[in-house]
Symmetry: C2
Subunit: 182 residues, 2 copies
DNA sequence: GAAACTATACCGTCCAGACGGTACAGTTAT
DNA sequence: ATAACTGTACCGTCTGGACGGTATAGTTTC
């Protein structure tokens, strides 16, 4: 059996972290390799080019999103409440890959945008089963707004403070969801 | 009398358009000059460097946002309904500069992020006067979600189709706002 | 006559990617 | 069992191109 490609995941993690913290512009191959503790040559061994690296990150996103949608369907508190809660930045693997991918979509990366649209549609479908198609949109836009703000904050400043400030907002949103459902 | 600096606004418009349509990465000085129908030298005559150009764009945003907030306060249908409607992508000057600036915030441009936070706070304050601080957050997140989606779509694909699809969503959001207010 | 440009040449830096090499785990032939 | 071989998993360096910015000489418009 050949050695395990431990560097592969390390590279993907580093790429993700740099996208979140310093944006797409600064997530260069050199920077990713350095952060992953790998040489640039080693990085390019696993991912023949940058596009391939992005492709692997998107696969990771699809995989995690599929799990999230399953959990959402099965959530005892209802899919809408689950959705709002999980839209809050909590540094989960899904949160991370999502914000990282947003950085790519922002630079007009078409494939990334397509994947996003697909996942959002799935969320909407599940929400619509619980609160109807109209209110589902309201709920989804609230969640999107939460992501939008997480993305704007990025890695800058005091993450702790901002996270707790936003978790207070979730209470308000859950109350709003209750009203919308009633 | 010297000629009027018509190129200045043309450059800013071109920069804005490129940010929206092809992202920050592709909005290079050469590309901006070409799109504005101006030589690179001419561009740099008005803006000594790229940062200065960004600064001017942010000034434009602040100016337009201030007008919007005044209109919001004076809106007969209420500030919340006005806010939701105006969060829809309608290709207005404010919409354009806002999405363009989002592209900069996404690449971790700190000054841009600060300006955003300031404007968002003002919106929240006005909304809170009408629907209270809790529901104001719900409304603002919905608006943010609308912007988030406009931003993800960018200039790619059929803008007409997507705009009309989203304007249908606004009906749902306005209904949601009604419920939240009641 | 001066502001508002055009046009072009150039510099330093950074980046994606190519390339040639090395270390070593596992396999096969003896 | 061990020497010879094979393929995977890397490392370090180099190159070509793009980008931000400088410089400068000339041209148009008011």
């Amino acid at each position: 059996m050949p050695r395990k490609p431990i560097a592969r995941d390390a590279v993907l993690d580093a790429f993700e972290a740099l996208l979140i913290e310093v944006g797409e512009r600064a997530a260069t191959l050199d920077a990713v390799a350095k952060r992953a503790g790998v040489s640039k040559g080693g990085l390019l061994y696993h991912f023949p080019n940058k596009e391939a690296m992005i492709g692997s990150l998107l696969e990771r996103m699809d995989r995690l999103a599929a799990l999230d949608i399953e959990a959402m369907k099965a959530a005892p508190e209802g899919s809408a409440a689950f959705f709002i809660k999980s839209s809050l930045w909590a540094d989960t693997p899904l949160d991370r890959v999502f914000v990282a991918a947003t950085r790519l979509a922002e630079v007009a990366h078409e494939e990334t945008r397509r994947r996003f649209a697909g996942i959002q549609q799935q969320w909407l479908d599940v929400l619509a089963e619980e609160v109807g198609p109209e209110m589902a949109k309201a709920v989804r836009y609230m969640g999107d707004g939460l992501y939008f703000n997480a993305m704007l904050e990025g890695g800058a400043g005091d993450t702790e403070v901002k996270a707790s400030a936003r978790s207070a907002d979730v209470g308000a949103l859950l109350a709003a969801v209750e009203r919308l459902r009633g």
